[in-house]
């Protein structure tokens, strides 16, 4: 019997895995290279995906889907190796997939089944008994707020509902690693927020490792801990979101309710460099020191501004993404 990763309680007698492997890093890629004929889709990719939420971003054709397939052991690599919870997907694909849940980008439905039957089918294919599979299917569909729509045939469901069913099918067997390909595609803002909230819950409260392949950088910035940028089959950028979006000038961003223009003017009079953001809803304070902060508190009190937040300013992820794309190509050989 094995115990799953942190927070997970999946156990399985069918699969014998040494205990140290079960505690190992969720995903480790070492020099992964994949070629289709003469075309190299992944080239010497080194990366580690720790517990938490990781965003896998990149332009179309960057090799994201192939990387996901490599993690699942669906493709044969030209070089390098993949390790998922200490297991090699090429050697033990079924054991790996037992601990992984996947939400594909495309509608991957079994024609003729209803939403709940689809999730139950996924549960049974993953090894749950029939009745428990049905109970568990309803439980995760409830959590996904699927409502009575679950009893409709999957072919007739809306895009958002299909996405919920696909997500429920991916997590019904309580996997330790959940891989999602464009999970917020076709969702309205409310649903999108709810979906991201569920991912955060899985990662923070249940210790799951989440890998999101997406183009929506706003989603990545709002929930991801780490980012891996893949361009033309190579990792162009990788690291924590906090580190990647940190500004070089160490500016502070102040969000407040009240007359920010007056505050900026008052600070200017006292020779403290401050400016309003383009949308005029926040103020940036350059090179803060103890003296300038003392002046800031004085002026805030004098002008009657109510501070909402004061935090280090961060670059939008989109700027980081575009800058990385524009940067000259260089190989990444160190674990990302």
């Amino acid at each position: 019997m094995i115990a799953a990763g942190a927070g997970g309680t999946v156990s399985c007698e069918d699969v014998s895995v040494p205990e140290p492997a079960a505690r190992s890093l969720p995903v480790r890629l070492e020099g992964v290279t994949k070629r289709y004929g003469r075309r190299t889709v992944l080239s010497d990719v080194w990366a580690e995906i720790p517990p938490g939420i990781t965003g896998l971003v990149g332009p179309n054709g960057a090799g994201k889907s192939t990387l996901v397939r490599a993690i699942l052991g669906l493709v044969r690599l030209a070089a390098g190796s993949v390790s998922v919870f200490g297991l090699d997907p090429a050697v033990a694909p079924r054991q790996v997939r037992q601990r992984v849940g996947v939400v594909p980008e495309d509608d991957a439905t079994v024609p003729g089944l209803t939403g709940v039957e689809m999730v139950q089918y996924a549960a049974r294919l993953s090894g749950l008994p029939a009745t428990e599979g049905l109970r568990r299917a309803h439980e995760v569909l409830d959590w996904c707020d699927a409502g009575q729509e679950r009893y409709r045939s999957v072919e007739t469901l809306s895009v958002g509902m299909r996405q919920k069913v696909a997500f429920a099918a991916a997590i019904v067997h309580d996997p330790d690693l959940v891989i999602l390909d464009e999970p917020t595609n076709g969702l309205d803002p409310l649903e999108r927020r709810a979906m991201l909230g569920r991912l955060v819950t899985l990662a923070r409260e249940h210790g799951k490792t989440i890998l999101i392949s997406t183009h929506v950088l706003r989603d990545v910035q709002s929930i991801c801990d780490r980012l891996v940028l893949l361009v033309k089959g190579r990792i162009r950028l990788a690291g924590t979101i906090a580190a990647l979006t940190e500004t070089a000038g160490e500016e502070l961003r102040l969000r407040a309710a009240g007359p920010l223009e007056e505050l900026v003017a008052a600070l200017g009079e006292r020779r403290v460099a401050a400016r309003l953001t383009d949308d005029r809803r926040a103020m940036l304070l350059a090179a803060p020191t103890a003296d300038t902060l003392a002046i800031l508190w004085d002026e805030v009190a004098r002008t009657g501004v109510d501070i909402i937040s004061l935090e280090p300013d961060r670059r939008p992820l989109e700027d980081v993404f575009l800058a990385a794309l524009a940067a000259p190509e260089e190989a990444s050989h160190a674990p990302a």
């Binding site: 991957a108 439905t109 294919l125």
Partner: protein, 357 residues
């Protein structure tokens, strides 16, 4: 939000994905059973069994009353049922002086005739209705992403899909044939007949396997080649028809050459061919047309291997002990084996090809 929403809870049970093939098969059967056309065809597929059951009954009655073994087979002296019973015995070539041997021979041939003439044709229709959808629909709906991102091997997937077809095909071939054997036992004078014919259920199972394996795997292989169900259906029926025509044309040419050897062969060639050709078996004395129509006359058919239907017939006749010349069976057996393994190989290459692309 539902009142009973308990949030996300980890699963604390045991995962046993070993039975995935069974899950695929049962789900596939449930989905397939939704087809009203299939249910109609399956219902219709059992109707020939009624006719054959009447044959069993008539034969057993005639045997029981001694009209067969006593040699009293002149039609004028028999009542209707006796006449049918003796006709069945005559046409199927049972030894009339030994009731046990006559029963064994007639039952075997009746069962083979049942599995050949109506059921094999219906089987082609049923498989044509079911099989093309099984994998092609998964390719069209991209369900391969659903399957192959789970702890499921290609073998389990193929086995599951094959299971769907095997169950459906069994409903057309295996189960009615077993039911017929049971009817035969029930209408016979003693239950000890079941012991005397104990091997027949096994032969029925063997004959059903000989039909199911190549047929189902070939149909599944066609289904795996395209996302368009129509194309797979067309390919399936086209194969049956084309093979049948090829077999018919070559057999007819043979028959013509045999009837007029000088037209196409020199005397030496003709003699050589006659020597090479297996000697025809003695045919049943009367009503041989009935045996021929049922495909159980056991005459030499050197082109049988060309046609799936005829090749299966030869192998089934061998399984039932009616065709005893292994040399005559081997080409058909080899062809069915090649179709089985070829289809299996194709399936292994194709079922998760999109995932690897």
């Amino acid at each position: 939000m539902p009142l009973h929403d308990v949030g996300y809870r980890p699963w604390t049970g045991r995962l046993r994905p070993g039975g995935a093939a069974g899950v695929i098969a049962t789900t596939g059967i449930r989905l397939t059973w939704k087809s009203r056309w299939l249910r109609r065809v399956l219902f219709f597929a059992w109707s020939p069994a009624v006719m054959f059951a009447a044959g069993f009954f008539a034969f057993e009655q005639a045997l029981d009353e001694g009209v067969i073994t006593a040699g009293r087979t002149a039609i004028g002296r028999l009542d209707g049922l006796q006449m049918i019973g003796s006709l069945v015995a005559e046409s199927l070539g049972g030894r009339l002086d030994d009731p046990a041997e006559a029963r064994r021979t007639v039952w075997s041939r009746l069962l083979l005739a049942f599995m050949r003439a109506p059921q094999a044709m219906l089987l082609a229709v049923v498989v044509g209705l079911v099989a093309p959808r099984l994998i092609a629909d998964d390719l069209r709906a991209k369900a391969w992403l659903f399957y192959f991102t789970r702890p499921l091997s290609r073998f389990q997937y193929i086995l599951g899909k094959f299971g769907v077809l095997a169950v459906i095909v069994s409903l057309v071939t295996l189960l009615p044939a077993l039911a017929l054997w049971l009817v035969g036992v029930l209408v016979s004078p003693s239950i000890s007949v079941a012991l005397a014919t104990w091997d027949l259920p096994l032969r029925i199972a063997g004959a059903a396997v000989a039909v199911t394996l190549p047929t189902a795997l070939l149909a599944l292989a066609y289904s795996s080649l395209t996302a368009e169900t129509r194309i797979a259906t067309f390919a399936w029926f086209a194969t049956w028809v084309a093979c049948w025509i090829a077999h018919g044309a070559l057999s007819a040419a043979d028959a013509t050459a045999q009837a007029n050897p000088q037209a196409s062969l020199t005397a030496a060639d003709n003699a050589a061919e006659q020597a090479a050709r297996p000697r025809p078996r003695p045919r049943p004395r009367r009503f041989s047309w009935l045996a021929r129509a049922a495909g159980i006359d056991g005459s030499a058919d050197r082109w049988a291997w060309l046609s799936l239907f005829h090749a299966q017939g030869v192998v089934q006749a061998w399984i039932f002990g009616i065709e005893r010349r292994l040399a005559a069976v081997l080409p058909s057996l080899a062809m069915l084996t090649a179709v089985t393994f070829g289809s299996l190989g194709l399936l292994f290459l194709r079922v998760d090809a999109p995932a690897r692309a």
